[in-house]
């Protein structure tokens, strides 16, 4: 540690969770959850198997494409702000240390297949025996019990079984998953809510810990929007509407339009349809591109909101599409917003990083990787708390970077640590 590189992770003395400790034994379904807790102030200790480390260190993409455990961008993003220790939970000596760590922790997050956690000392019986106040958060594919509890799954299986893929995609090409893993994302953020709720419940119930059972499949169901009530009430199944929207299972107007430099999204055929259509019709009329839609008769029909026979719908959508194609997306969005229509540009990662809005909000943070001699822009605060701010706490840890520190906490001295290392416990 040099003066240029303060200890990782940085202190966070004034977060809302400062003073709490979290043990992270999670895979992709729980690492973002614990990262959020670290950024809110908790001391998060990532527990990795000795030698090879956590398997997710092998997840791409890698910095400059070089597949090494400390160059996984996945690892960087999901584990920033945590400490790392190595511990062999397949050995009793390792589990003994785990029990001591649990005794001084508040939350334990694990992602074992149900039934396999007991052999690692991560089932609720073992955890609560070590610390009755501990909150065990188990994030699994389908939940702790039930007929699919032991099924194998990755993100796409969660997206399929949880219903998201059925409402995404289009009728011609079938169901579609988001290329960024949203079933994993949902499992993580809902696990965080579960952990926080249990933490609050503990305080009002004399310190009683409990087991939080998170199902990736069930977590994904919220992303079906109103497909559940639509089935319950109308007995209609919602399917992916492609470039259109769907309302209660009915495919509605187009919401995606190509522009000179990309795409924009806009509900109700860009606002040409519905009670607020007039200013948009005026806009097209001012530039001479309304194709007759500004006639009194058309206006009345557009403002009334339809429904329109297919040839009319085609005309309305073609008019809007032709209007957008000759213009740039950010100019279109700015003018549409000025006229009262809720448009938004389709942004990729580069445009998001360049966004004026996020710059004005001072959203981005720079994270220093002193081992590489470089620093990179990371996403910043997902929320601004006035009293207890969110804080980025530096890069993700190297494998076992905090072994001495954390084992020291347990009163395990240097000689004993060497012995544990020889026995492959750490």
């Amino acid at each position: 540690m040099t003066a240029d590189s303060p200890p990782i992770p940085f202190e966070h003395a004034d977060g809302p969770l400062t003073g709490y400790r979290v043990l992270d034994l999670a895979d992709e379904k729980g690492q973002l959850c614990t990262r959020l807790l670290a950024e809110l102030g908790a001391d998060v200790i990532k527990i990795e198997p000795p030698r090879d480390g956590d398997p997710t260190r092998q997840n791409g993409p890698f910095f400059r494409g070089e597949a090494e455990p400390d160059r996984s961008i996945y690892w960087w993003v999901m584990n920033a702000g945590k400490r790392s220790i190595t511990l062999q939970l397949k050995l009793e000596a390792g589990r003994e240390i785990l029990r001591k760590l649990i005794a001084m922790s508040d939350i334990v997050v694990e992602t074992c297949v149900p039934g396999e956690s007991a052999s690692l000392g991560l089932d609720y019986a073992s955890v609560s025996a070590a610390n009755p106040g501990a909150i065990l958060v188990s994030v699994t594919n389908f939940g702790q019990a039930g007929p699919y509890a032991k099924w194998a799954a990755t993100d796409i299986v969660g997206s399929a079984m949880g219903g998201q893929m059925h409402v995404s995609g289009d009728p011609e090409r079938g169901p579609l998953r988001s290329t960024v893993p949203q079933a994993f994302a949902q499992a993580n953020v809902q696990a965080a809510v579960g952990a926080m709720t249990a933490l609050y419940a503990r305080a009002v119930n004399d310190g009683a810990g409990q087991h939080v059972d998170v199902s990736m499949q069930e977590a994904m169901m919220v992303t079906m929007d109103h497909a559940g009530p639509t089935w319950d009430i109308r007995r209609v199944n919602t399917v992916g509407p492609g470039e259109r929207r769907q309302n209660a299972g009915i495919v509605a107007g187009r919401y995606l339009f190509e522009t000179a430099d990309g795409w924009i999204t806009a509900l109700q055929v860009g606002g040409l349809v519905g009670p607020k259509a007039d200013p948009i019709i005026d806009w097209l009329a001012e530039t001479g591109e309304a194709q007759g839609l500004d006639s009194l008769e058309w206006r009345a029909r557009l403002v009334a909101g339809g429904p329109f026979p297919p040839q009319d719908r085609e005309k309305i959508e073609a008019t809007m599409q032709a209007f957008c194609r000759t213009r740039k997306k950010e100019e279109l969005v700015a003018e549409a917003q000025r006229r009262g229509a809720g448009w938004a540009p389709v942004f990729g990662p580069r445009e998001i990083v360049d966004s004026k809005q996020l710059a004005a909000r001072e959203y981005w943070v720079r994270v220093h990787h002193e081992d590489l001699g470089e620093s990179f822009i990371y996403p910043g605060a997902p929320f601004k708390l006035s009293e207890t701010p969110w804080k980025q706490r530096g890069r993700a840890p190297h494998l076992g970077e905090h072994n001495e520190q954390v084992l020291g906490l347990l009163g395990i001295d240097a000689a004993e640590q060497r012995r544990l290392k020889m026995k492959m416990v750490i």
Partner: protein
């Protein structure tokens, strides 16, 4: 045991001015776990979701939307017209009885009625308030309008959802509406715990865009560190192959993914070790990533016969000779086979499938609740269960102003005469 414990948020009261998706889903967590959440609405400016389908009997009705109902279980309903001369004062008096205020209006709206954090805090020192508009309280886009359907575009989800040769169609839903509430709830409950320990409230400036970017996984840092811009690749994956959806005999789709060598070995065994699996260029995961199209072609042949046997022609008369391929297995057969070999595999389930999915039913996900206008309807529980203090959906969504008597008369102590005077004067509209 559960009976003797307090619900997590028992005794806390929430004034919920938020609307549409994000805000109501945040306060639903609090309500389903014991808080008294009062939805504060208006019939003059009704909550947008009350006006969108699905409606009971397909007939628009202010209390008949299943969309609204599902996000508002366990809550009370009060109504106030903020444009009535006494409206803002009544709202302020409700807030003074509350621990938490949630809202999701365009920035400045609450302040216009004297309901901004600074003003509300004057009456309630330890107030915790969260504002959750699309783009946050400041910046050039602060006043921009929209819904989750378009915010998913600005937040990157359209760019990253679609077929690789097609447009950025997005997720088919108002996606950010279903991602960011959980992040807001995490911040809110963490701040609530801080308040419990210190007695200090605070204000949370929450931007749906900024929280949404969290869901982009590695896409941002892959760009800022590597200069590589990730984009949509259909149902493929940059880390796993095979990885796709395939159609089956029953018309439904299954997904199959091999993220590890173990998954791949399982798939090979399940398929009966066909020759193509053992080709040199299929050996390692990174090699298979380059062979996704080839793998899809081979798996396509496994799922379907593209050559038609004579005996099957009669089933295909409507489609003609060049009709679709014969699909060999049902989704159930495929999933049972692949899962028995440890291969990640699942059915692309519809809302109908989920309503009777044995796993979801075993978890007690759906809560049937009786609503005075809508009748018995299914409500969604959260994606997690607390073993000792689980979510409990105590009632169906409120009808508009359903609990006005309780809120105004009992909570605020407004006398009968004044109450009916306000009612007659339109203060609750």
């Amino acid at each position: 045991m559960a009976g003797t414990l307090k619900k997590p948020f028992e005794g806390l009261r929430v004034a919920d001015f938020a609307w549409v998706g994000v805000g109501p889903l945040v306060s639903k967590y609090l309500a389903d776990h014991g808080a008294e959440v009062i939805r504060i609405e208006s019939s003059t400016y009704p909550e947008a979701l009350r006006r969108v389908p699905p409606f009971v009997n397909d007939t628009p009705h202010i209390d008949g939307s299943g969309y609204y109902a599902n996000f508002n279980s366990s809550k009370l309903g009060a109504s106030v017209n903020l444009k009535h001369p006494r409206g803002p004062e009544l709202a302020k008096r409700i807030v003074a009885k509350c621990d938490i205020v949630t809202e999701s209006f365009t920035p400045g709206t609450m302040a216009k009625f004297g309901l901004d954090y600074e003003s509300l805090k004057a009456d309630r020192e330890d107030l915790l308030m969260i504002s959750m508009p699309l783009y946050g309280q400041t910046g050039p886009w602060a006043s921009y309008m929209g819904y989750g359907h378009v915010l998913q575009a600005a937040a990157g989800f359209n760019h990253l959802t679609g077929w690789e040769d097609g447009p950025p169609i997005g997720t088919g839903v108002a996606y950010t509406d279903f991602l960011v509430p959980h992040i807001a709830a995490t911040a809110l409950i963490a701040a609530l715990d801080y308040r419990r320990r210190t007695g200090k409230g605070q204000y949370i400036d929450f931007s749906q865009l900024e929280a949404g970017v969290l869901g982009l996984w590695t896409a941002i840092v892959d760009w800022t560190a590597n200069g590589h811009e990730q984009t949509r690749i259909g149902n493929h994956d940059s880390e796993a192959a095979p990885h796709n959806a395939y159609r089956c005999k029953d018309g439904k789709w299954v997904v199959v993914a091999c993220a590890t060598e173990k998954h791949w070995e399982g798939l090979k065994a399940a398929l009966g070790r066909p020759e193509w699996c053992d080709m040199d260029r299929m050996r390692r995961r990174w090699q298979r990533l380059n062979e996704q199209k080839e793998i899809d072609r081979h798996l396509g042949y496994w799922f379907a016969d593209f050559t038609r046997a004579e005996a099957e022609d009669e089933f295909q008369t409507e489609e003609g000779f060049d009709g679709p391929p014969i699909r060999k297995f049902t989704t159930k057969q495929v999933v049972e086979l692949f899962q028995s070999f440890g291969v990640p595999c699942g059915i692309v389930q519809s809302a109908e499938d989920l309503a009777s999915d044995p796993q979801i039913v075993a978890r007690g996900h759906y809560w049937p609740l009786e609503h005075s206008y809508m009748g018995l309807r299914q409500y969604d529980a959260p994606g997690f269960r607390l073993s000792k203090t689980p979510a409990e959906l105590t009632k169906a969504a409120p009808t508009l102003g359903e609990d006005n008597e309780y809120v105004y008369r009992k909570l605020l102590g407004i006398g009968e005469d004044e109450y009916y005077e306000l009612l007659a004067d339109g203060a609750f509209e």
